[in-house]
Amino acid sequence: MPEIKVTPLGAGQDVGRSCILVSIGGKNIMLDCGMHMGYNDDRRFPDFSYITQNGRLTEFLDCVIISHFHLDHCGALPFMSEMVGYDGPIYMTHPTKAICPILLEDFRKITVDKKGETNFFTSQMIKDCMKKVVPLNLHQTVQVDDELEIKAYYAGHVLGAAMVQIKVGSESVVYTGDYNMTPDRHLGAAWIDKCRPDMLITESTYATTIRDSKRCRERDFLKKVHESIERGGKVLIPVFALGRAQELCILLETFWERMNLKAPIYFSTGLTEKANHYYKLFITWTNQKIRKTFVQRNMFEFKHIKPFDRSFIDNPGPMVVFATPGMLHAGLSLQIFKKWAGNEKNMVIMPGYCVQGTIGHKILNGQRKLEMEGRSTLEVKMQVEYMSFSAHADAKGIMQLIRMAEPRNVLLVHGEAAKMGFLKGKIEQEFSIDCYMPANGETVSVTTNPSVPVDISLNLLKREMALGGPLPDPKKPRTMHGTLIMKENSLKLVSSEQALKELGLNEHQLRFTCRVQLQDPHSDPDTLHRIYTHLKSVLKGYTIQHLPDGTVMVESIVIKVSSSAEDTNTKVLLLSWSYQDEELGSFLSTLLKKGLPAGIC
């Protein structure tokens, strides 16, 4: 039986360095190629040696698909393509293609220039890698080769995020990447049609969460920010340059405008400015409101939000600062955090998920004393708030997507093992389909039941239709006679005559004959007539003929009568039928063996 094999190299029972290998119908596809935020050593990238020990990956992979531009989904791409070696096509959507290199370059700068790492990919490598990228449009079916085709669906989450359907013949796999089932201030909700894939590979970051209404969260967030500002405190919101940042900016911007607040809002420069530029460009990927109003005013042209300068850190008075990165593990956000942590008037709002090992994760778990580099400790007095703004689907959202796509199997990635287990149970119970949650390096294989297409000759079909009425009834299967011809790579169903003709064979007739002895005092023709009337009364709806040559025909079955030599009362009936009429023939023989009823003249 054909199989679909899925092996996560990263993101198996884990969040970070998403990289999933799929073999389907003899094709090998790599889904995402990310890095892990929590590590600074080799564990940062997926283990490509799983695919091949030495040499390039090109011959082992048919294509690579990147779902969106977050580094945990594309961070290892230049390493894989340039340093390990891959020359095949890399597919991503237009916004991803535009924004991805900026993020990679930023990532490279931090690791190489700041931390002084060597043996890392260079700017040139990023450029070379991006040259291999083939852009995708939403709902556009792209033929990778003759058999493999892929199609992108809108996934929400961040600008340009896509879910991909991979299809070989009638087997298919859907990979969701990260997605969001509730729309937010700048993006719409994920959507997929009822494509009924054999396997749905879905993220499960929030497997055990069912979020409150988005509006509650927004209100809470605004209230917290507002109160802190009124107290004269400073608010730090660590975000990643793209994604949540833009949503929260729009939220605060509109709130500031409505409430007429004067406190400054800052946004760390550099990356964000570039990113906002792309947000202004790819307006078609945003939500209904922004798409409808951009003619009057592009929502991403902020009025109240100004670029941040490092010197502003020590400015007195209230302010709101969006700073990167989002998990407080490095960069500006960490720097600001260190400065502000000591004052209880200040506040840090973590708007999203934090990977284990980051400072964000520590403070959210209530740690108040942090060990910093250089063995110093930092006491955290500022308020720490968590607000789940991260644009991942919650448990109900995941269930909703499964219901939308109606897959035959579900595979969970991109989540914590314990939570996955909980969701796995729910899915199995709710939809009664199989659900898998492999760890990294573990392979899951699912047997599929692909339908085999067979050509059927039109003549045969028409003939069958004439026999059985004009409308095929999809609910009732119908049997038909025909000959299946397997020639080269194609299957054909034709009528037996045509098959014989094609093969150059003669048709052989197969007939069964049988004798039945009958006690009947009448003469032969009379007996025949009695048989005729008897059959006529029994077999209604069949054509029964009394032929002048002393035979009775029931459909194609011939019945003859002859007296036996010894006893004229014993009549011998000859029945003859072809093998197609086996059923009727045997019925007749048993019927006649019982003898004729008395009352027939």
């Binding site: 729309p183 909700a189 509006r215 409430m259 968590y386 789940s388 109900k396 729910k426």
Partner: protein, 984 residues
């Protein structure tokens, strides 16, 4: 037959004159042809056509012109004849579509072509043409709803073609069945093709035939089947409950149209069988069908297609019979337990919620898995109704959100506990990103606000919206605050503070804010009481400075306090002296905002006020009684010439007018009656003896007054008819009756004064037409008009139509004078349309200036009450000082609907004029357009405007020499008293 027809057609074509031809079908029918018949022309054209393209062209041209009723049948026969000859599919298709078009002709009864149309079906091979022909039959069938034989035949035809392979044909057949089929008469289906699997002779009804196609392989056919079933329901057929299960299955169809139709179907069935019990699959428990359906439709709110989501959200709002525990689930996503089992479900859910199996996402790490409860009790999906509205309200498409808000409103109105629960969600919607949604949710909150009391934090969120830039939002919010109950005095203070802030920020909101405070004060007198000294900044020992009386904020506070004081007699004791003075001033200048108060020691001064308050809302019943009594008294006048009759009418009119002034609830009814009686009085005066007994030349003067009276009566009747809402057919008949009398009077006067017969003949004809149309319009009301003018007139009608004008006039004169007063019966609710122009005020000190030849925009803000369909009927008229005027049609979008029977017109009109030098005034009027449908003599509907109220608006412009400089000039402003309405 065909040959005969052709011959006839040729005859018609060559003779263009009146011919009379006996016909087989209707031998006595007359055909009047004044120009070559259409049918003839068509036939010639079609015969000329050499190929199908030409024929198609001719048919297309033919279709552009209307066909008169008389020749429809002829045309149809020509078309059919050509149809049989035609080989090209597209031409046949066009012919078929023409047939359906022709069958729709007004006045044509298509029963004569049913057979032919059915015959065409038998030999048709093309599926498209077949579908079109069935469509034609559908049109014919709907035109002939009364004929059971035609219906039966058409249903048979439909059943026969149901097995067609082309989906369009099946669609049309199902449509036919839906439109014509009946459930109670079973159909025999024996004569069908060999395809059907049903044994011959089986008897099946339309419903089960249609439901067979719920499982069709073509999605469009499935949709059509569902639609046909809905159509059956609409026609009053009883749908069986078995359909429910099938419809539920279609809810998970692959195609959105099918799902959308299935949602409707399920809803219909849940209405029909709301109380029947259905089992829950995979358990042995049972629930009410309406609850089951509610759960299933709630599910559809998270459907993949937004059309279905809108449909589902809308439908939810209509399911008010659902049990409360299901209703409340729609607001909580986290109640994840399988709530479909009724008994212990609720407690189980609470446990689950408390145990925190699912995190809310508002606290970090509360989603760490704890020890698991029995996992069988948790079902993410099957919980049905769970959180349907939470999903709907945060949907991506604002259409869905609006539908969800509306549905919330409808459900909340029928359930108080639900209203309280959904409050938080509605308040949250005030922060929606789309203004329409915000506005809608504010409106909805107002509609359910009678059920609820706002808490402080909710009020806080609500009030935050007061700073919104959009005027509509702010005004909607003011409207909402008028109707809201709040719980504490802090709330009042908060609301006042925010309203004052709002007033400061947007001074144009003045009126709206004041009105809002008026209601807030009168709603919460006890809450305002402890705040009074603070609000008025009085002090027990010291005199505080007197606040500025012109400050809108101070007025706002006073409005709040005075309205609260109305039902709180202890409050005035807290007022300081200047407050009393300000009261007197405000009571005078803003009497609609400041109620009459019983102030200690000032009773004699405000004597009138106390009378007013004495006749307050408690005495509506007595006023109503008085109204009815007055009318009864008038009805005793049988003879118009009885002495004192006129006096009685005079007094009654006066009484009614005064009653209207005193009793605002009854102003519409009182004025309506008064106007009606005035008409009668005028008529009575005009018909006085003296006038008619004298010779014509001797009473010219009286003639003039009588003519004027007739004219006035006519005008008044138009006002009666179009200015008041809530009239029933009977009143309209009465009004028309008076109008007819006035017309008769006019006719008589014309006959008396004018010489010459010709004008008289035409006006007599007009009058008779009027009488006829009256009879036609008010056939059902005629029994109520016993002994009236019309009644007598109709008796004499045969004589009238044949007699000479002079005779007619004589008859009219006697009937008119003999007929008695027609008793007016008051409808339950009657309101007069009124309009108040808020902007421009006419008091402005700054004249508008404009440059000659260019335009200047003038903002107009007006409130319309009890105006039906203002989008089409209300116009703005601008009257320039030189008598020039023009009428402006406001855009439909300029009308807002803040409340029932109220409209708000906010628009801009452009003024433009040639040069003038002095500042002068421009009048702006609101007109109510109407068309008098009964005036058969004027081809286009006559439009007349009723001026409601006009204000002068000062406008100046200056021009010196050749340059277009603007000259500063003083302005004249004088607010005119409200004019009585008069037709323009």
């Amino acid at each position: 037959m065909a040959a005969h027809l052709k011959k006839r057609v040729y005859e018609e074509f060559s003779h263009s004159k009146v011919v009379q031809i006996p016909q087989e079908e209707a031998p006595a029918k007359k055909l009047r042809l004044s120009k070559p018949s259409k049918s003839a022309a068509l036939h010639i054209d079609l015969c000329k056509a050499t190929n199908s393209t030409d024929a198609l062209q001719y048919l297309l041209q033919f279709a552009r012109k209307p066909v008169e009723v008389e020749s429809v049948e002829g045309v149809v026969r020509i078309l059919l004849e050509h149809y049989y000859k035609e080989t090209d599919n597209s031409v046949r298709l066009k012919i078929a579509s023409l047939l359906s078009l022709l069958s729709k002709t007004q006045g044509f009864i298509p029963d004569c072509i049913v057979d032919d149309a059915i015959n065409t079906l038998t030999n048709e091979k093309s599926h498209q043409v077949l579908a079109q022909l069935l469509d034609t039959l559908l049109v014919i069938g709907t035109q002939l709803p009364e004929s059971p034989t035609v219906r039966q035949r058409l249903i048979e035809v439909a059943c026969k073609h149901l097995s067609d392979t082309y989906f369009g044909v099946r669609n049309k057949c199902l449509q036919l069945l839906g439109c014509l089929g009946t459930v109670d008469t079973p159909l025999s289906k024996d004569s069908e093709g060999p395809s059907t699997s049903i044994a011959p002779g089986a008897v099946r009804d339309v419903q089960s035939i249609i439901s067979d196609y719920f499982g069709d392989q073509e999605s469009r056919v499935r949709t059509a089947a569902l639609k046909a079933m809905l159509q059956l329901h609409e026609r009053g057929m009883k749908i069986h409950q078995i359909i429910y299960e099938q419809a539920c299955r279609l809810l998970s169809d692959d195609y959105e149209q099918v799902r959308s139709a299935a949602v409707q179907m399920v809803w219909v069935l849940s209405h029909l069988y709301s109380e029947s019990i259905v089992p829950i699959p995979s358990s042995n428990e049972e629930i009410r069908l309406v609850d089951d359906a509610f759960g299933k439709i709630s599910h559809m709110v998270s459907d993949g297609s937004w059309m279905v989501r809108v449909q589902a959200a809308k439908t939810l709002g209509l399911m008010t019979q659902v049990s409360p525990q299901f209703l409340e689930q729609t607001l909580d996503k986290k109640l994840m337990s399988d709530l479909r089992r009724k008994r212990t479900a609720h407690e189980r859910a609470k446990e689950l919620f408390a145990s925190g199996e699912f995190s809310s996402g508002r606290k970090w790490a509360d989603d760490a898995p704890k020890e698991r409860l029995d996992s069988n009790t948790v079902a993410l999906i099957a919980s049905g109704a769970c959180g349907a509205f939470v999903h709907g309200l945060e949907d991506e498409m604002f259409e869905v959100r609006i539908a969800a808000v509306d549905a919330l409103c409808q459900l909340a109105r029928s359930s108080t506990s639900f209203a309280e629960k959904c409050l938080d969600f509605l308040v949250d919607m005030f922060n929606d990103e789309i203004e329409e949604v915000r506005l809608q949710s504010i409106h909805v909150l107002r509609q359910i606000s009678t059920h609820i009391t706002l808490r402080e934090d909710q009020l806080d969120t609500v009030l935050a919206v007061l700073e919104d830039k959009s005027r509509d939002i702010r005004e909607a919010l003011h409207e909402l605050l008028c109707f809201t109950n709040v719980s504490t005095k802090e709330c009042i203070q908060l609301a006042l503070l925010e309203l004052l802030k709002n007033l400061n920020k947007y001074p144009t909101d003045r009126n709206s804010v004041w009105k809002c405070l008026k209601f807030m004060g009168s709603r919460h007198p006890t809450l305002v009481l402890p705040l009074v000294s603070e609000l008025l900044s009085t002090h027990p020992y010291f005199d505080t400075p007197e606040p500025d009386m012109d400050d809108p904020a101070y007025i706002a506070v006073l409005v709040l306090v005075f309205n609260a004081a109305k039902s709180c007699p202890t409050m005035p004791a807290l007022f300081s002296d200047h407050t009393f003075r300000h009261y007197a001033y405000l009571r005078d200048s803003l009497s609609h905002l400041v109620p009459p108060l019983r102030l200690p020691g000032r009773k004699q001064i405000y004597g009138l006020d106390s009378v007013d308050s004495g006749g307050g809302s408690g005495s509506v019943e007595s006023a109503q009684l008085f109204l009815v009594q007055s009318l009864n008294r008038v009805s005793t006048i049988q003879n118009l010439e009885a002495p004192g009759a006129q006096d009685l009418l005079d007094f009654t009119i006066r009484d009614l007018q005064r009653l209207g002034e005193l009793q605002t609830e009854l102003v519409g009814a009182a004025e309506f009656c008064a106007t009606y009686l005035r008409c009668q009085l005028l008529l009575m005066k005009a018909l006085q003896d003296k006038l008619w007994n004298m010779a014509v030349p001797l009473c010219l003067k009286q003639n003039v007054t009588a003519t004027a009276a007739a004219q006035q009566i006519l005008e008044e009747t138009y006002k009666l008819e179009f200015l008041y809402s809530g009239l029933e057919n009977r009143q309209v008949a009465t009004i028309h009756h008076v109008r007819l009398q006035a017309k008769a009077l006019q006719l008589i006067l014309t006959a008396r004064t004018r010489q010459g017969l010709d004008p008289l003949i035409s006006s007599c004809e007009k009058f008779l037409l009027d009488v006829e149309s009256f009879q036609r319009l008010f056939l059902t009301e005629l029994p109520h008009l016993q002994d009236s003018f019309v009644d007598k007139l109709l008796e004499l009608m045969p004589r009238l139509s044949s007699c000479k004008p002079a005779e007619l006039v004589k008859i009219l004169q006697t009937t008119l004078r003999q007929s008695g007063l027609l008793q007016l019966k008051l409808p339950d609710q009657i309101h007069r349309a009124t309009a108040t122009i808020i902007e421009p005020t006419g008091e402005s000190d700054n004249p508008l200036r404009f440059t000659s030849g260019l335009v200047v925009a003038l903002d107009i803000d007006a409130t319309l009450e009890h105006v039906q369909d203002p989008q089409t009927s209300v116009k703005v008229q601008v009257l320039y000082p030189d008598g020039q005027s023009h009428v402006i049609h406001p855009k439909p979008g300029d009308f807002r609907r803040p409340g029932p029977d109220r409209h708000r017109l906010i628009t801009q009109v452009y003024l433009s004029h040639t040069a003038w030098t002095e500042p002068s005034q421009i009048e702006v009027r609101l007109l109510l357009a109407y068309s008098s449908s009964c005036t058969s003599f004027s081809s286009s509907a006559a439009k007349q405007g009723l001026e409601r109220q006009h204000r002068r608006h000062p406008t100046t412009r200056g021009r010196r020499g050749g340059n277009d400089s603007v000259q500063q000039a003083s302005q004249i402003a004088s607010d005119l008293p409200q004019h009585s309405k008069h037709t323009t």
